[in-house]
Symmetry: C2
Subunit: 420 residues, 2 copies
């Protein structure tokens, strides 16, 4: 791979310098279409909501809008970005495990499509502040207690999770009743999410069945037939060669079929089904382009390949011990016989991009491309060590365009005040 | 503690809102004076260099300048900040494990006081680009192979460290010779740093002795009597009650005495000694003020105290499993009999501020103060989840002043471009 969308990485370096976040716009659009086209069922209505925390800028919100997905926001900042991008407010879902009254009021004032209430306390605030001028759609975040195989930081559904209310907790059903009884609320159903980067199909199916059994309990208890269900995201992506890619063409329609069959066998209404992919829309469409600065061999024969970025633009290795694949531009066909640790410029031992990767012999000024950096890279970037955050470009059909401009050193000081 | 520098936390919340980074300016100044006054010896010359990666803004650089410390920068961004603050360039030390030729040229052009060269490759570049118009002072980063007891991410001196050259490696001595022989370089000696947050005195002493023995080898091999030694930082601070605070009043003069005695017994010149405290200057002077949004009890009886900040302003718990202490304003004298997990607003299970802390019974709108957040909090902050970075204030003698202004949601979009 020496080009991306018919543009050489060398040309991108000349034009934008490095480090550089590159998104293959066609790949994002293709992935959106996979979700839109495959998350369909002749007898189940459905929507795909992009979980914007994976990667959000004005241009990205506009791309998502043009592909017809809905948008999940978890903060006022994400909501503000979506609104500035012109995203239709009725297609926005507001999340958050810990919303303030101000945030709920902001959501109501902007007439956000759906609010996901995290718990009974938030429900009580919302029940107080809604009024008859605008009937807001609401879901309740619940915790199905499913233990998906993933990093504990991105596992969201254990019994002690900070998110939502357990389906085993009697307060959960009472909260559903109170929201459903409110004439100013259009209560849709529950939202749940079992974790991120899940590669086993059965976790998604078990999840849907567990939630629908809970819907059956609600129906039996209160004669409420919940209209919709939001099953969250968590669709895993391929970071390294040994990762098995989840077959979305299979999982997405099967998930709807399972909802359909389960609802029928439980004798509840077939709900409208939402899912919220984030990472799986953007991760594999994203690449980080770095220039090799130095190669260093320690006395123990460990070889470092030092690039011109750092953990500030690539936090997931330090934070989750995440694994990545990478290649050296123009050397893909050479023998990969040298084990390098790719590390950055930050003054910290934790500043590792990839621990132990087989690459061809590398030299200063080589270009290194780290794959699958489209999700949680730009969005987690910091100014640690007062490093600037790389610019973001989209590439498509031989064209590149800036979606987030390069920062200057002056930008780092834009909010600073002198001491006296 | 209901006030800080005679200002109540309630007043600070009214004036600046929360979350808020608060620095006790008097405490920073006091700590600077401890280092300046105690790192002294009648027969050893010395300097204290503030490691700015812990916390740097224009105001902070000006404070450091006014207290007479030197400044350690690890990037062009830090260097730019220091220069904009008016910091005397001759008192700036440029670090970095992975400097580009451009960075070295920038340092030469600005006539930075001292450049710490990381390795033989950097030394070869520097040897090429220096000229006779300006004789730059240079040190070489070496790795003494000392295994300090600390988190592996902040342990910097194992044999496979990315930093410096091992003192056991013959190339290290050759590099010293080549730098020392360059007529356009004033070669001072070595820099080394055994890690961060070290609480055992003997690690510092062992380190100094190890390096001076290496100096003796250099003297015997090349008849070079190195002029100076930079022993780095790593002075631990108190995060939680069970941490024993390092006694700087004892360690600092003893370290110089050990250098003096060791140099004498080895029959080498007593070098000028530099140290580079960062965390120990600012960590305990910093506090993060949050408002409690919600309290939540899971079905397992785990109690969450949700505050209005998140891992984006407090990364060290997620990144290093760091421990923190906190208190609820006005409830310090109440019985602390409830175990809470303090968590934030980010849509991620890893978004924990403090796992399991005993506090008095908490309510929404209580103010929570997290202690010892002065180092690596603002400097590591991100916009994850499009949350804004809290403003930073200094407080002293009943007065507060903004040193980093609050961000707006608009600021989040300041570099964004539309899709078309």
């Amino acid at each position: 791979m020496t080009t991306i969308q018919h543009i050489s990485f060398e040309d991108l370096k000349s034009k934008y310098q490095t480090p550089l976040y590159i998104y293959d716009e066609a790949a994002i659009r293709k992935q959106c279409k996979v979700f839109i086209n495959k998350f369909r069922h002749p007898k189940v209505s459905s929507n795909v909501i992009y979980a914007s925390k994976a990667f959000l800028t004005i241009a990205m919100a506009q791309l998502i809008m043009s592909e017809g997905l809905h948008l999940d926001c978890v903060s006022q900042g994400e909501l503000y970005t979506a609104l500035k991008a012109g995203f239709p407010v009725e297609k926005i879902v507001l999340h958050g495990n810990n919303k303030t009254k101000d945030e709920l009021l902001m959501a109501l004032n902007f007439r956000v499509g759906t609010i996901i209430v995290d718990n009974d306390y938030e429900a009580s605030i919302l029940n107080e502040i809604v009024n008859d001028k605008y009937k807001v759609s609401v879901m309740l975040r619940v915790n199905p207690g499913i233990d998906a195989h993933t990093h504990k930081y991105i596992k969201t559904s254990t019994l002690d999770s900070k998110f939502g209310m357990s389906i085993l907790d009697p307060r959960t059903k009472e909260t559903i009743k109170s929201l459903n009884d409110n004439p100013n609320i259009n209560f849709l159903g529950t939202h749940s999410h079992i974790g991120s980067q899940i590669l086993e199909e059965h976790s998604f199916y078990d999840h849907a069945i567990t939630i629908l059994k809970f819907y059956k309990e609600i129906k039996e208890l209160y004669q409420i037939d919940l209209k919709a269900v939001n099953l969250g995201g968590g669709f895993g992506v391929k970071y390294i060669k040994s990762d098995t890619r989840l077959d979305l063409n299979k999982v997405l329609p099967e998930l709807l079929e399972i909802v359909y069959q389960t609802a029928n066998s439980l004798e509840i209404s077939v709900p409208h089904v939402y899912i919220e992919p984030g990472r799986s829309i953007v991760a594999e469409a994203g690449y980080t382009l770095y220039t090799v600065n130095q190669i260093k061999e320690t006395i123990n024969k460990k070889k470092y390949l030092f690039i011109d970025g750092a953990m500030n633009d690539h936090m997931r290795t330090a934070l989750y011990q995440a694994k990545y694949d990478a290649f050296i531009v123009g050397k893909e066909d050479m023998v990969h016989d040298t084990t390098y640790t790719v590390a950055g410029k930050a003054c910290e031992s934790g500043d590792i991009i990839i621990e132990d990767i087989l690459l061809p012999d590398a030299k200063p000024d080589d270009l290194l491309v780290v794959r699958t950096t489209g999700a949680y890279h730009y969005s987690m970037a910091s100014h640690y060590n007062r490093l600037t955050i790389p610019p973001v470009i989209f590439v498509k059909d031989g064209q590149s365009k800036v979606v987030v401009r390069k920062e200057s050193f002056m930008d780092l000081l834009s909010h600073d005040e002198a001491l006296v």
